[in-house]
Assembly symmetry: C2
Homo-oligomer: 135 residues x 2
DNA sequence: CATTAAAAGACTGAAAAGGTCTTGTTTATA
DNA sequence: TATAAACAAGACCTTTTCAGTCTTTTAATG
């Protein structure tokens, strides 16, 4: 219900791999897959999402691969989590109305939960993958 | 991955039902089930968990039912969420070691996530069922 | 002793998560 | 220009979790 999904974890480990390289270069997923013990085909799927999100750029063809689309200082954990699993805000919408349709506004239960999720978002937004990689 | 489960939502609505009564009394789950449009047998299961957690007390037999075990001011959202779905801390343990077993300590990714979850916990702990019911 | 309600836990169906497979397309280079 | 390495896209499959049901048992009360 609240755990970091495998997809997100793999995405982060994949991105950290770029940061931890001595120099910037195009890296094929086969390399990351082997080094990080992440199933190749799953990693491919994840990076295709990161590509659409503008977090990485792809280079096709022989000697192709991926490269970070922006500075690792500007890639934060929230970007990655929401990129892979969708917006956190999707998780405090209320089911109650399916039964009682009086009001459309968010119910007090989910409102309190929203407050917590917002705090969580703040924390995640304030950690870049560069910072994580350094730690 | 991050949403409030049905079980938790039903638990909260069930508990709020007690708070919103004019006077304190033993309430059978059949009444809450009907009033709140919650499947009876599911609600039963949820209240058995709340019972074990010391949040409600049960009264068996004819005219039996449940009653809050403590003041609604002292029942917070975190109690309920963790009571039903298990401790939030379970959601930042790392899978990485299944591949690389060098270290046992929490990895930087999950460490950052833990910081966020701790903030979320704080917020949830600071909202009581009584407060939610009043809102 | 019939009725009503909780207690306990096995069981089931549906949905989501995690992962694989297949069939392309692109492109450097031998 | 054929080939091999790599991304692109999406169908497909398997496992786990979630949500909910069913059955049997225990207990209280009129």
């Amino acid at each position: 219900m609240l755990r970091l999904s495998r997809g997100v974890e793999y995405a982060m480990r994949g991105l950290i791999y770029f940061v931890s390289q001595p120099e910037e270069r195009v890296i094929p997923l086969s390399e990351i897959s082997e080094s990080e013990c992440i199933p190749k085909s799953f990693l491919v799927k994840i990076f295709q999402v990161l590509l659409k999100r503008g977090i990485v750029k792809s280079v096709r063809g022989l000697d192709g691969g991926f490269i970070l689309a922006k500075s690792p200082r500007n890639i934060n954990l929230l970007d990655i989590i929401e990129g892979i699993d969708g917006p956190l805000s999707a998780f405090y919408d209320c089911h109650r109305d399916s039964c009682k349709k009086e009001d459309n506004e968010i119910c007090p239960i989910h409102n309190a939960y929203k407050e917590g999720i917002d705090k969580l978002s703040d924390v995640l937004r304030n950690h870049s993958i560069e910072e994580i990689a350094r730690t």
